[in-house]
């Protein structure tokens, strides 16, 4: 510590936060292995029944659905985010760049509740989409968009897009423009140049963005809660129901632990893929 007299003071707040988080995690962990006493907030003795209970189809299907929703969200934010990131990095005019940046990043600055309610006005039976389709005469009765997987994924993509765009833009901006110029000089048009040079070179960014989007979505709560309306459930919604409707804290805790482990496992897999890709490149 010699020569760094203030290091301890600077590190202290971080250490305190980390200790608090660790204590909370420890509490959740120990709740996860305790028996539930119906009708009581207290917990019983050590048990692993919480974990075996998750294998029941009702709960297992929620895990499956969560992974599917995360995968779909990551995929569609990638498909929507790539062109935006590309435009952000390569647009010639500053006005275009600002427009793309605003489109891509504003979802971050909207509160979760405001953002989700705005989707209600778009997706509802008398909302913008149905209103427009009815007015155009394309449909006779409103299409159900709320409380569907489509609606939930759409809203999740909206909130995931900023992260995806920023990560992809960082990756794209690090690709030397001379690679594409070299491809063009060798006879590759814009499409071939993109597919054979830009896209493969941005693969690390694609993997990083996709895995972050996946993890980011895994913890989504308000969006599936309000837009899914109980019909589209993710692990976080199940935890909420069990914890605050049934007061089954041990089972809610064990669900959280498994959810965390699952997300960590998926991220580890993606990371392994990235490492292999970087060794190849």
């Amino acid at each position: 510590m010699r020569g760094r007299p203030f290091l301890g003071w600077f590190v202290a707040p971080g250490v305190l936060c980390a200790l608090g988080l660790a204590a909370a995690m420890a509490a959740v962990l120990q709740y996860a292995v305790r028996a539930h006493i119906p009708g009581s907030l207290g917990v019983g003795g050590f048990t692993l029944e919480n974990f075996s209970g998750m294998l029941r189809p009702l709960y297992a299907s929620v895990f499956l659905q969560t992974v599917q929703l995360c995968a779909l969200t990551a995929l569609f934010s990638l498909l929507a985010g790539y062109p935006l990131a590309h435009a952000l990095v390569h647009a010639r005019s500053a006005a275009w760049k600002s427009a793309v940046l605003v489109i891509a990043v504003t979802p971050l600055f909207l509160g979760e509740v405001v953002r989700t309610y705005s989707w209600l006005t778009v997706l509802g039976n008398s909302g913008f989409i149905n209103g427009a389709l009815l007015w155009l005469g394309l449909i006779d009765s409103p299409v159900q968009l709320m409380f569907t997987r489509f609606g939930v994924v759409l809203a999740l993509v909206h909130v995931t897009l900023p992260v995806m765009v920023i990560m992809l833009a960082a990756a794209l901006s690090h690709i030397n423009a001379d690679y594409l110029r070299a491809a063009m000089s060798l006879g590759a048009g814009p499409v071939r140049g993109f597919l054979t040079v830009t896209l493969p070179l941005s693969m690390p960014g694609i993997l990083a963005g996709t895995s972050t989007a996946f993890a980011w979505t895994f913890s989504a709560f308000a969006t599936p809660q309000m837009i899914g309306g109980g019909r589209v459930n993710m692990v976080s919604n199940l935890v909420y129901q069990l914890g605050f409707a049934s007061f089954n804290f041990p089972f809610a805790a064990s669900l959280s632990v498994v959810g965390l482990a699952l997300a960590a496992a998926v991220l580890a897999l993606l990371r392994l893929g990235t490492a292999r890709l970087e060794r190849l490149a």
Binding site: N176, Y179, G187
Partner: protein, 361 residues
């Protein structure tokens, strides 16, 4: 058959208010090694990018093999280009890098494999086909870049300062090798550099550029011995600028006097000056020599530095009335001549390639 491989007719390019290239007129002959030489910001890279098609011209027309290509996109121009940083595709091995331009042209696999092998043999990289660019040295990367540009048999080879990233010894070897390959294939080559030594040693012709204009196009000997203006004289090689006086003009030549010596110089740069006018006499360092005792001297000065260069000795002199220092380049190691601090009378070699220009105002 077009008479030129590349022709520029009054090509202009602006960046905002700045004119990067001002009405460039240039004809590049078939099989010629032409160098665009100039300081950074002179427009040489802009000119190369206009020929390649990476930049669009604001005025004028560009022809390759007689065909108008001003509006043709890069990928249809049939050019080979070597970039300053080589720009080898990092996610492909050497063979796939070299084969890239063949794949875009739809060359079948068997022929492509054979042509890739030939190209790698040409640049002495046989056996390296499976390596990744990052596993290669700078010189090897440069060879791959050259093979990749040549394998498509382009109409013109464009080289953008390809040697600037190499260390000095390797650079010399690569220069010789590039020149050999270029002559063997007889490929029209346009080479961009700011290194005048490189330009003189490699080129069939040199286009000297400054501030967006082509000042002179000529053989290395022409631009060195008969520079068109004071910029070319000063940029290509070292030069001594000595105060002199115009004596008179006769046809294409003019007489000027400096010190006790008279010189015959081309008259064209001195048009409009009356006899007796002050001019600047340009003499190369190797065209000066110590004057024999009692002989007529061009100037007299004090030796302030003696710089040994191995094959030659350079003497730096301070002389009254001459701004800056006077530089002499003597063959061998000139024993006993111009010791440090000694006075030295200087004369010119017989029939020097002297030039005179009006003084800067």
């Amino acid at each position: 058959m077009a008479t030129e491989a590349v022709r520029l007719d009054g090509v202009t390019r602006r960046f905002g208010a700045m004119v990067a290239l001002h009405e460039a007129w240039l004809k590049v002959r078939h099989g010629e090694f032409l160098t665009l030489l100039g300081p950074s910001g002179c427009g040489k890279t802009t000119l190369l990018n206009l020929i390649a098609g990476f930049l669009a011209a604001d005025g004028g027309e560009i022809f390759i093999e007689g065909a108008l290509v001003t509006a043709t996109p890069v990928w249809q121009r049939d050019i080979g280009m070597v970039f300053q940083n080589y720009a080898l595709f990092p996610h492909m091995d050497v063979a796939r890098n070299v084969a890239y331009g063949l794949a875009t042209r739809g060359v079948n696999k068997a022929e492509a494999a054979q042509r890739v092998a030939e190209a790698l043999a040409l640049v002495k990289l046989t056996g390296m086909a499976g390596r990744r660019p990052r596993e290669l040295s700078g010189g090897q990367q440069q060879r791959v870049a050259l093979a990749r540009a040549l394998v498509i048999r382009p109409k013109v080879l464009l080289l953008d300062e390809p040697f600037s990233a190499l260390d000095r010894n390797l650079r010399g070897a690569m220069q010789v090798e590039l020149k050999e390959i270029q002559q063997r294939l007889g490929i029209t080559t346009i080479f961009v550099t700011h290194d005048q030594g490189e330009a003189l040693s490699m080129s069939d012709r040199v286009a000297v550029m400054s501030a967006g204009r082509i000042h002179q196009v000529g053989t290395p000997e022409e631009v060195y011995r008969r520079p068109a203006d004071r910029f070319v004289a000063g940029f290509v090689g070292d030069v001594n600028r000595l105060p002199a006086r115009l004596l008179g003009r006769e046809g294409d030549t003019a007489q000027v006097a400096a010190g006790a010596c008279h010189f015959t110089v081309p008259a064209a740069p001195l048009a409009g000056l009356a006899p007796g006018a002050a001019v600047e006499l340009f003499l190369r360092p190797e065209q000066l020599a110590p004057a024999p005792a009692g002989g007529p001297a061009l100037l007299e000065g004090v030796v302030v530095a003696r710089v040994y260069q191995g094959d030659r000795m350079e003497l730096h002199l301070e002389a009254a009335g001459v701004p800056g220092r006077v530089l002499l380049r003597l063959p061998g190691h000139a024993p006993g001549v111009g010791e440090h601090g000694s006075h030295l009378a200087v004369q010119a070699q017989p029939q020097p390639d002297a030039m005179a220009f009006p003084p800067t105002t």
